[in-house]
Symmetry: C2
Subunit: 198 residues, 2 copies
């Protein structure tokens, strides 16, 4: 059976989104048809507005409607610390902890030779420029514990060491609330390696 | 941390969709921001087009751009059989089997007293009208094996019995490829009850 054309097209668009398979795409499309026309108009315009109004902060490459972004222009934040993340969503995750009050630098990717992404394809030179131009006291590397994350961290460490500023990486180990016996070996090894004196 | 406004609004809209939680909504919204403006425009317009062009077939209440719908107006289909389903997505699932070549009737819901949905809130009278007006030989009830599905099937059975047409319900039992020992008791009971002579 073929979907009626506009429905087929809508399902196709939903399917392009990450983590949306054909079944979910169909469910979402049918849900759109059940919304009021007014609601659909608002949804569609919210999509266009977000796309048109939001761009990257030219300092930290966070997504924002303003440049510099809300974080870079927030006078209450500690401008001597930069936390390096891969994507805006990682920045958001850290912001939700309410534990960090410095600045960020969003690399917009990770070094991944397999995917043809080298150091020049992500915002590394812009980070070096910031470190050169400003009085930065500490850099926290907060990249995923993946092959690409490790590679990028190593690369950044090499580049940043000569600056003689405090350089750290977020800790890897047992997640809170988890049980030691169920932890995988890699995590446990990292937890042992990163043990902290008490 | 607060999302920049247009992003917050877009995330909110995604979160209204079924099976989309806050994390997925954020991921989808950020993905939209990474699409080209042209792609976002196309996605938004596909949503509006679908909503504006698709309405319900006034005969079977399937979603369609035409009235009667593609299925009702297909001359090659057997117009003496009606398969009663709850939602358009169930119709689509049956169409995908390529096993059924009759007509449909989409109830647009199920009787559910808890949710305040009675027989008059779904397309039951329209079904009776069709049965009255046309030469229908068989009705297949294809509703979910849920409390609401059972209640609606029972109600329909009572109403349709007097017409003296062949009335059936799709079979419930072990799904193909499954293993008996892992089937839940309800399914196994249904499978026994619905046993077929060989």
């Amino acid at each position: 059976m073929e979907y009626t054309k506009p429905l087929a097209r809508l399902i196709e668009y939903f399917q392009k989104l990450p983590s949306i398979g054909p079944k979910t795409a169909q469910r979402l499309a049918l849900y759109i048809l059940k919304m009021s026309e007014n609601e659909v108009e608002n949804f569609a315009s919210s999509m266009l507005d977000a796309k048109r109004q939001i761009s990257y902060c030219k300092t930290c490459f966070n997504m924002s409607c303003s440049d510099p972004c809300e974080i870079c222009s927030d006078m209450s934040r500690n401008k001597a610390i930069i936390c390096v993340v891969s994507e805006t969503k990682d920045l958001m995750a850290i912001e939700k902890t309410n534990e960090y009050h410095g600045l960020y630098h969003v690399l917009q990717g990770l070094i991944s030779p397999i995917d043809g992404i080298g150091p020049d394809d992500i915002r590394i030179k812009e980070l070096l420029y910031r470190v050169n131009q400003n009085d930065i006291k500490e850099i926290i590397i907060a990249l995923n514990p993946s092959v690409e994350g490790e590679a990028t961290s190593l690369y950044l460490t090499k580049l940043l060491k000569p600056f003689n500023i405090k350089l750290s990486r977020i800790a890897f180990g047992l997640p809170m609330g988890s049980e030691l016996e169920y932890a995988d070996e890699m995590t446990l090894a990292k937890a042992l390696e990163g043990r902290v004196e008490i």
